[in-house]
């Protein structure tokens, strides 16, 4: 078996009396597409938020690339190599598509306040490189022709793609996609599927939260099912699909 990239150990999170995550333990291997599914309110997004430092878990923790992930600040999670997109798209609406991606390069570049004010040669070279890399990423997700349009003026599908490009700009080892196919039609979903497969083929591990069960089962190497904040099963799609507990969770039986 290949190397474990992310290990979640008994991760717990509660909001008042609601136990959003109950000791979730799972492991994602380098290079796989890992699906996280479950009914609404099962804790999928809470898991993402704990992983990316937006929430601090109340118990347990993560090991990433063999070292504990101190989830105290989101920018540190980004620096360690975890990037995400959002279920409800959260782009910088009043910035151009290109600029949105350029912000994502922030974590991988160095120039600071004084460089920006003094316009040193190093700063200018770095900014040119950022722009070039951002443009490549827009080509990669196939929205390069919209580079100069404000993000808020992009179509819904293109905004989803832009979020993925922005996340990729941070050069993540683990890309977390929160319901990327939500609201997409069949054609767009098929294109998205190709994009995700391509991202994995290029060496990035993908963690996918998705409601579209067909997409998950067709695309993911392994799938974990959450229900009421607890892990029900973690296995290959063929096994998960036939599991009685999963069927019950989804049918509410």
């Amino acid at each position: 078996m290949s190397e474990v990239l992310l290990q979640a150990d008994a991760v717990a999170k509660h909001f008042g009396g609601v136990r959003a995550l109950r000791d979730v333990t799972l492991s994602i291997r380098r290079g796989e597409i890992y699906g996280l599914i479950g009914p609404n309110g099962a804790g999928k997004t809470t898991f993402f938020n704990c992983l990316t430092g937006l929430y601090v878990p109340d118990g347990g923790g993560f090991t990433f690339c063999g070292a504990p992930l101190v989830a105290d600040a989101p920018q540190k999670a980004a620096a360690r190599g975890i990037a995400r997109t959002f279920q409800n798209i959260r782009l910088f609406g009043n910035m151009s598509a290109l600029e949105n991606v350029m912000v994502g390069r922030h974590v991988r570049t160095r120039a600071g306040v004084f460089g920006a004010m003094l316009r040193t040669a190093a700063t200018r070279a770095e900014e040119a490189a950022i722009r070039q890399r951002a443009m490549e990423l827009l080509h990669y997700v196939d929205i390069a022709e919209r580079a100069d349009d404000l993000a808020k003026n992009l179509s819904y599908g293109d905004q989803r793609r832009l979020e993925i490009a922005r996340a990729l700009a941070t050069e993540p080892q683990l890309l977390c996609l929160d319901e990327p196919a939500a609201g997409m039609n069949a054609t767009e979903t098929a294109e998205l599927r190709e994009l995700i497969a391509g991202i994995r083929a290029d060496g990035t591990t993908v963690l996918l939260i998705e409601h579209d069960v067909k997409l998950v089962m067709g695309l993911c190497d392994r799938v974990a099912v959450l229900d009421y904040g607890a892990l029900v099963i973690e296995d290959v799609p063929a096994v998960v699909q036939k599991d009685q507990r999963v069927i019950e969770a989804y049918l509410g039986a």
């Binding site: 910088f92 910035m95 350029m102 912000v103 390069r105 974590v107 306040v113 920006a116 922005r166 941070t170």
Partner: protein, 307 residues
């Protein structure tokens, strides 16, 4: 007619200064939603620092060509450090506090800085050393001086530089991203704390520059000068749409011109009942008018682009 032209020029000069100060308010507001009421005091301290350094060097026999830039550099660097320190000490610990708390803190810091300045520089009016030539020009019946020309030109160049910084550089991009969504900017690896500190530092540098200009223009400074200047610049920022950089610039110039024209004509308008020393009321009539009829300002949208 020549009064009109004359007052237009005076207004443009005063307005350039308001615009520079207003940018400090609007940058900080745009990024973190805080009105930094201590900003006027930062400007005041910049002016007084310039007096001490430039005046001291002149007395020590330095030529104006060296003492002037040294005074300006002292003011700018001193205020950058002050702005950074303010943010670090007074506002950062309150990052997650209710909005009113940092606002009250800002007023408190304003009082603290005023009193510190009074202790250091005393209660008296201080003369600002003549750093710029006194030459005057006459065009179409209006009189203006080299100081006025320098103020307008330097302000315009500085504002162009700021726009380039915000719209062309990586730091500027991080600032705009943080203004729109601090949480997401953080996830993209933007160090939001540093971006906020940068907004304070840059705003304070602009304020120091404005302070040196005010000093050169009126040739006098005082530990309370930041209060009224700060309020006027805040009005300019609100007039242009607070959080909007272009708005702060336009609002500053517009407010300067409104004030100057108002001061020039108030005597005629009221049949001599009110004199030009009532010019301050115009700024506040404008402030109240904007807040009543167009609270988002001239260029602000409701969900407008900030910083």
């Amino acid at each position: 007619m020549d009064i009109f032209l004359q007052q237009l020029i005076n207004g443009l000069v005063q307005g350039s200064i308001y615009a520079l100060v207003a940018l400090g308010y609007t940058m900080v507001y745009g990024i973190m939603g805080l009105i930094n009421f201590a900003h006027g005091e930062v400007v005041m301290i910049g002016t007084l620092l310039a007096i001490s350094v430039a005046g001291g060097l002149l007395q020590a026999g330095w030529p104006v060509a060296l003492a002037g830039p040294a005074g300006l550099a002292a003011a700018v660097l001193g205020c950058m450090a002050l702005g950074w320190g303010l943010e670090r000490v007074a506002y950062r610990p309150l990052r997650n506090a209710p909005r009113l708390t940092p606002l009250i803190t800002a007023i408190g810091m304003s009082i603290v800085l005023q009193n510190l300045a009074m202790m250091v520089w005393g209660r008296n009016y201080l003369g600002f050393p003549a750093l710029l030539p006194k030459a005057g020009f006459e065009v179409a019946g209006a009189h203006f001086t080299a100081v006025q020309v320098v103020i307008v030109v330097v302000s315009a160049a500085t504002m162009a530089g700021l726009l380039a910084l915000v719209y062309r550089t990586k730091l500027g991009m991080a600032m705009r991203a943080t203004a729109q969504s601090p949480a997401v900017a953080r996830l993209m690896g933007v160090d939001v704390d540093r971006v906020i500190a940068a907004a304070f530092v840059i705003g304070s540098a602009l304020g120091a520059l404005a302070g040196v200009m005010v000093g050169s223009y009126y040739e006098i400074a005082h530990y309370q000068m930041g209060f009224m200047l700060g309020l006027k610049a805040f009005t300019a920022a609100v007039l242009g749409g607070i959080g909007n950089l272009g708005g702060a610039m336009a609002g500053g110039v517009l407010l300067g011109i409104i004030e100057a024209l108002g001061a020039g004509y108030i005597g005629d308008l009221t049949g001599g009942f009110l004199g030009s020393h009532y010019q301050d009321i115009f700024a506040f009539v404008v402030l109240i008018g904007v807040l009543m009829f167009k609270p988002s300002g001239l260029f602000g949208e409701k969900t407008g682009e900030r910083a």
